[in-house]
């Protein structure tokens, strides 16, 4: 499926269930998303990761609504817990099946996102290891001078942002030397197709969701 349309579908879906509280529908959605993930060779590790993430906030909400809410409505609580799982599985479908590059290419080719947004963000993503290393170094540099940089220390952020300013300058210049110009047309090495079937899938899925929501109310 086209990555951008996929993202749009997942967004619409997540958006809609944020405003409804329907446990059966949520469970059906989770099952569907799970099946999609199985087709994409979900590993056990990934599966447990998806299961564990919403656990703590889920339990917290459940206890708050069920135990302390005015109506002690455990069903509502479960509805919200299941909603968290829909979010996470939808996120899993996106991140496990689509690389950032493919999504960027699709947004650029199919939806005419200005290339500076697509590739500017990618350039930043791709230096993630360097960013991690630097944040660690900054904290060590602090310890060597006898101060602890906590997450509420302005200095920690200041130093990190200084590095960010330097990197953004370097990366922008590097992209330019590799021929990139803002607003200039580009060709495509890999074409990301957008078929009418993608739209059909989107529409059918959303219509089905409405039916389910009404039927299982």
């Amino acid at each position: 499926m086209n990555p951008s349309v996929k993202l749009l579908l997942l967004l619409l879906l997540s958006f809609e269930i944020s405003f409804t509280n329907n446990l059966p529908v949520n469970l059906i959605l989770i099952a569907c998303l799970f099946i999609v993930l199985l087709f994409h060779h979900l590993t056990w590790r990934q599966f447990w990761w998806l299961m564990i993430i919403p656990l703590i906030p889920g339990i917290a909400v459940l206890i708050t609504i069920g135990g302390y809410g005015a109506a002690h409505n455990w069903l509502t609580g479960w509805g919200i817990v299941s909603r968290f799982y829909v979010y996470v599985f939808a996120g899993g479908v996106m991140t496990f099946t689509t690389s950032p590059l493919l999504l960027a290419r699709s947004l650029e080719q199919n939806f005419h996102l200005p290339s500076k947004f697509a590739y500017g963000t990618l350039a930043a993503l791709n230096i993630l290891p360097k960013i991690k290393q630097t944040v660690i170094s900054i904290r060590i540099a602090g310890k060597m001078r006898g101060i602890n940089l906590h997450w509420w220390s302005p200095r920690l952020y200041f130093k990190a942002i200084l590095s960010a300013i330097r990197w953004s300058d370097q990366l922008a210049q590097a992209m330019e030397t590799h021929g990139f110009r803002e607003g200039q047309p580009r060709t495509t090495a890999v074409k990301v197709p957008l078929y009418w079937t993608d739209w059909v899938i989107l529409i059918i899925s959303m219509v089905l969701l409405q039916f389910l929501l009404i039927a299982l109310h």
Binding site: P57, T64, G91, L162
Partner: protein, 185 residues
Amino acid sequence: MFRQFHLKDIILLAIIGIIFGVIYLVTGIIYNGLTIALTPFGYGPMANDITLGIWCMAGPLAGFMLRLPGASFLGEFLSAVVEMLLGDQWGVTTLLSGLVQGIGTELGFTFTLYKIYNWVTLLLSATTTTILTFAWDWFRNGYSHFPFSMLVVMLIVRWLSMLFFTGILVKLIINLLNRSHVLAR
């Protein structure tokens, strides 16, 4: 009247988004621990309100660094995009949250017509962000089902968190940046 966003600005905003995520990870801020600690009192979801300010820092910071309409929104939204791509816990809804937070932080700058850049702007921005994000959580996190008294407490806690992180902390960072003369305008 205002210049456009250049490639360099976009990369900068995206990197800042990543940095906040990395600091969050590396310094081990215990969102989950906080949730567990508060749950027995029925205040588990408040961990969200306590730490939310951290996630909304990128916006005001970007607004102050670039001083352009949309900068704050873009800063906040791009950091949500990178969080989603890095596999964040809230999946694609991160984008929706980013949208809401972005509009929230941007409003503070809009109300000051992109002319005033001081603590008033930050105060405004913190307040608008609190209101908008709270409205969003009303639906997404099921706040509508919470006891009323608790909602009041959570709203105040969230506002205080915003004031501390997107207000005080951002102001201190901006002061350091201004003094170091690295912000070219």
